[in-house]
Symmetry: C2
Subunit: 320 residues, 2 copies
């Protein structure tokens, strides 16, 4: 067992050797997003090339957790190891105890081949959009090649996070057309595979037709990937092997067509932009405080200096 | 008549001398928000100390323009000169021809004692929150000591812009409690004077009582200004002298209590923060492009460099 207060480097070595408590602590540090997170990120990034990420999202109540649990079961029956990041923007950070209402996933809580972790955004300096890719890279780096990121497809950030996977699965239900809770346009845009979960209910054919029509209207280039529609029943596991086959098919397409490289490049650029924007934002907050700031703003109020000249002066120390 | 292509300095001199076409062109440049706007801002700022700004906002359909027109009439009957900035976020920039659907204000279009201008935000690099105070300062600097800024109290930015006046008037109607269109909490927060316009309709007493109750609940310190509630009928001008009296009373309170100085200091600090944040934002966009950017992001994708080291390197030229 890793000692209390161990530095990130030591935690990382222990996690590489299979220590789950060390891994949990690494992810807590990532969640916090401070200097320790940077250290971990630097360690994980070069080792993270071999991993694959699957995003899974959909409206609340679509049965994502039940489906995920069945999916984990299927992958374990194939002797695959994996990690699940359950993004939970509403609940406070749960320190690794996790799972919240994701009771179904507890079926796998004692299986060493599965690492399940809920991530909350509270406290992370960069929020979900920076914490998630960092956490995924750590999981890839310590040997969990397959990472499933589950989010609720309601908020824009949550949908985007799921959409930044290598393959994104959007979960809908029969009769989805009537629901207005989910960010439908956003979900349509990110889907590589559609799942109609709870397919033992009425309306599967209509929902399939609706999705097909939306895909027809979306004007895909004829050589592009067309998201398949897979019916599943999460509670029985029905259709889950088809879902896994569809995801693998998309992975093959993405790898051979260059789409995967393109997506990863785009994602990393976005991430780098975000890191830079946040650091400049922190600098702005630092610039706009202190004695010189008080003096200058008093001068602006007194009409001794205009706002643009004051801005020039405040920015001078950081101007190239 | 000022010549075409005259530089900002020349336009400013002409506007100081009373040339309305030159003033209109100054405001167009302010609206655009580029280097010319900075020049104008630098000219106007030191001369703008004597002015006073009244914000007027409320839900769409509250009768703001009709009320403003009646108010202008009252002020003109007192031989006061003024300017009106009608902020119109929905309509494109109208180049000084202005007024849009503010037909009632056209009563005053030929009166040299009134300068009416609609401002659109499209195109201004800093948006409404920077263009409005810049335009107000220009109007103050060229001698329009009283500037009335009218906005539709729907969007957060629009409410904020009205709230950044020296005295803010919030226009409601009888039965306002039932309406859900306006940003009610936001409007409550910024009001120095409440107007119940269209007070010839039923429900004035109830709406007055509702407003009073909301004020009671808002837990004002007992020595603070308590917004009075003034009934008006914009279409007949009834109550407009009372509105003007209430605004003057608030002005006296704000000047003698120190509130006015406090507000202006706060506002200018906010404006300076905004200028600095926007300039850093422009720098971020500049940093995240070019050959070095492409090279570094390729390196991040290839796992040769991690995102934080890449961010350090991109930010190095601007690091103090």
């Amino acid at each position: 067992m890793i000692r209390r207060g161990a530095p990130p480097e030591e935690l990382f070595e222990a996690a590489l050797a299979g220590d789950r408590a060390a891994l949990a602590r690494l992810l807590s540090l990532i969640e916090r997003g401070d200097d320790a997170a940077r250290t971990i990120g630097r360690l994980a990034h070069p080792r993270s090339a071999g991993g694959y990420t699957i995003g899974l999202t959909g409206a609340p109540g679509a049965g994502k957790s039940t489906l995920t649990s069945a999916w984990i079961g299927h992958l374990r029956s194939l002797e695959m190891e994996l990690a699940v990041l359950a993004i939970d923007p509403s609940s406070p950070f749960t320190g690794g105890a996790i799972l919240g209402d994701r009771v179904r996933m507890q079926d796998h809580a004692t299986d060493p081949g599965v690492f399940i972790r809920s991530m909350a955004t509270r406290g992370h300096l960069g929020g979900l959009s920076l914490a998630t890719p960092e956490a995924v890279r750590v999981l890839h780096a310590i040997g969990r090649q397959l990472v499933l990121v589950e989010t609720v497809g309601v908020g824009q950030v949550e949908v985007e996070v799921a959409g930044k996977a290598d393959t994104t699965v959007v979960v809908v239900n029969p009769g989805w057309g009537d629901s207005v809770q989910a960010n439908k346009a956003g979900l349509m845009e990110i889907a590589d595979v559609f799942v109609i979960n709870k397919a033992d209910r009425d309306g599967v054919a209509e929902t399939t037709r609706d999705l097909m029509q939306m895909l027809d209207l979306s004007d895909l280039p004829h050589d592009a990937w067309r998201p398949p529609v897979v019916p599943t029943v999460g509670s029985t596991g029905e259709g889950v092997p088809d879902l896994w086959a569809a995801v693998q098919e998309h992975r093959q397409y993405a790898e051979s067509s260059g789409l995967l490289h393109e997506r990863r490049t785009f994602r990393l650029r976005e991430e780098l932009r975000e890191i830079i924007a946040q650091r400049l934002g922190r600098r702005a907050r630092k610039i706009c405080s202190g004695d010189r700031w008080d003096e200058l703003t008093d001068g602006v109020v007194a009409r001794e200096v205009d706002p643009w000249t004051a801005a020039d002066e405040m920015l001078a120390p950081v101007d190239a």
